[in-house]
Symmetry: D2
Subunit: 260 residues, 4 copies
């Protein structure tokens, strides 16, 4: 059976990335307590295709990624997968991004009631002649309360849900756990948010936010300060996007630090 | 050229709706001042297919809808289009939904500065042996401020952006204008929202919302009261969905009145 | 602490549905083999609110749903949850919709290679004075190949990915398993689709689709025939939406049978 | 009224981008024939915020962008807007992205029937101490037919809708028109797609695609070849993403050329 993807290509154009997107996979993520969490993974995977080769072999991506079903995934398995891809595809570079919702239990601030909140997280890996690079991503819902609105108003201040999204790059050998990163991020808004709040909790959340007004600029700067203080972190980015309650558009801020 | 869609079907199953979705069209909408607004239309159109006919003729939908480019669209043209569809498709029933963003100028409450806000609107028409029915839809962004949060907190009260969506059915011959419906809906939240707000405006918006706390239930009930008071309205529904600033999920309420 | 949601309401308007949407929860789904699958659940839950009561208690939804973490969910637990909601909310009616991606292993048609495909599924329950009703929903990706294109063309025929979505209502006591429903649905397109296909498999898939051309109307009718043949099924709906490869819009058909 | 956004910030962290997203605006786009097209614009705008300044002034974005209502927008107005932003915000850099659907009339290949197809387009501008840079973006729906499937199968070959997205950077003074760029891109797939096709047209489209099989890698390389051949183009990127009809995931390829 002729393999047209293996033909020699005369156009001489390197394809930076060729691969698959939005493959859904059940995946286990290594948890900090030594166990793991089962998540719904959405995976993008790609290789660099040299100018002389007509096509890649798409089925090999699914094949390679299906090995994740055998063990929990962390930075170690991401690197292993990428090294396997370099070999199977005879490619100069390979990338994989695994996106998933991760749950952590949260305790309501007054009642102590426990509920599980979901966070959009990502493992991003890339391997090339420059070596292996891993970036941990997390998006955390927070509440922002507008400092300007509070300052100028006689009563009240508008608040809204916002999303704080970070990407963090640590020195090889340093493992960052979502169980530590996420709570740190939740402290950067005007107040944390929770799935389950009784009335006594809602009072605490409302007053905490009112006492702690923050622009998206404030959230992003405080986040950069917090992230660069984590031992082993050599680069990070932070973006806060706020679904303004007084507008039909969003406000956002983005900053970077170090090497990403 | 053989037309397989025209074959007789032996399965004897009526198809309630067969047609196209997500066709994008530039459309002109009749405005209340006698002029019109150019909008980006997203159209769904379908007919009922009797059990004996194998397939419909998909190209006729695009053909029929392209006639909208000749004149501004209102309830009259929707009915005309549906009657043309009954004939061209030899169908017992036909439906069309035109969704579009509509802009209205808003004046900021203190500075008087003018900016244009967008609203998701819809013209929904259906024709069958029971006659022609038209429903006007509009989704309006508003601000809600939580009555519970205000009541129990010593300072502040959480607020958020919410969407108030209605569908309104009026007696034949009664024309409802988006220019009148939308401002009515904007009054049902804790406060209206605006694209452009100077600091003096933000003070008014913040304090107005604080003085006017509303649950999604309140918004929906006040909306039903307002809509059923419009002369000629014989049915309506209202839904308010609030992007809670203290949670990562939404809160919503839905109610109906009369005949839809 | 005053409870404003419990106030008496003077507007006298029944709220058909008030509740929460897009709550994410890790859930276990009962599997046919007696075990269960861990899934990412997205939940909507609501109650009917009588005209005299101002507001519902939103935290009780999260509270009630968190009990799903204690055991795998199937129609039995959905009914149990709804009965608990009637009591806790003192409500005349309650609804819950649980949406999730479910995975089933598929074997490629020639190579026999196994990979896991994802399907969007839903458990929908409602309870009221009319009793308990449960509807099982499933959306299955399939391939459609156009009969008209094949008939009129000298070579080839356009194909595309389509989604076949059904809702099925069975007599009380009859349990429908996704493990049985999904494979039945996959047979209704021109060909099944797979995550992992080697070249020998791709040949089979291509030729199978070419030998089995189907309009969206055909898919829907064949699906209704298949569903109404399942013992215990008293109602169903089927919709096929096809991402036409020759257009930038979709084609769809929808039909119903019996009581839904 | 105190302006807290103007406070001095002690954290010393530059915010790379702060601004607004998803502002909807009715915009006129300069057309090649000297006229203009009215479109629904979705705008993101941001400035760089020096480390010593606490916040930006969000209302100034809306204010600045509302000036687009006075005249049709092209690269000239984008540069003018960015220069105005530098001044009003006293910022070292500013960016704006305007996304919109643009329609072009297409003639069906056999019947000659005319219909309008929509394309997702973008004007991206940035100004800083390095000067002004403008990138034109366009996403064009095309059909791809798989070379491997055709080669190995005795009859048929799977096809699907794909999206070809490019970003193009031209030398200052060189104006690229969407009316020229889009038709060039439509030629890079296995066949163009159309809103309106009669049976005779569908035959041409089906056979053309079958005679012209292309991987996403082929589409991307042919696109780079075509774009770099346009006089004045100094850089470009091309991505093709294909909604594979035989899978539930997509296949994609991405390549760059020159300076972007």
């Amino acid at each position: 059976m002729k393999d047209v993807a293996s033909e020699v290509d005369a156009r001489g154009i390197t394809i930076d990335r060729v691969g698959i997107r939005d493959l859904h996979l059940p995946v286990r993520i290594r948890a900090r307590d030594g166990g793991y969490a089962r998540v719904l993974g959405r995976v993008d995977a790609a290789v660099e295709l040299p100018g002389i080769q007509r096509g890649t072999h798409m089925s090999r991506f699914v094949n390679t990624l299906s090995e994740w079903s055998k063990q929990p995934v962390s930075v170690i398995e991401i690197e292993h997968t990428l090294r396997a891809m370099l070999e199977r595809f005879a490619a100069p570079a390979a990338e994989v991004v695994l996106q998933f919702k991760y749950f952590l239990a949260k305790q309501a601030p007054a009642s102590g009631r426990v509920s599980e909140l979901d966070y959009d997280c990502a493992f991003e890996g890339r391997i090339s002649s420059e070596g292996f690079r891993f970036v941990l991503g997390a998006s955390v819902p927070i509440m922002t309360l507008c400092p300007c609105s509070k300052e100028i108003s006689e009563r009240g201040a508008h608040s809204q849900r916002a999303t704080l999204s970070v990407r963090v790059n640590a020195r090889p050998g340093v493992i960052l756990w979502l169980e530590e990163l996420i709570p740190l991020l939740e402290q950067q808004g005007s107040c944390e948010i929770y799935p389950l709040l009784k009335r006594a909790d809602e009072k605490v959340v409302t007053e905490t936010a009112y006492d702690n007004p923050k622009f998206v600029e404030d959230v992003v700067r405080d986040t950069i300060v917090a992230l660069r203080g984590i031992p082993g972190v050599i680069g990070c980015s932070a973006e806060c996007e706020s679904m303004e309650s007084i507008h039909n558009h969003t406000a956002y801020a983005y900053a970077e630090h170090g090497e990403l």
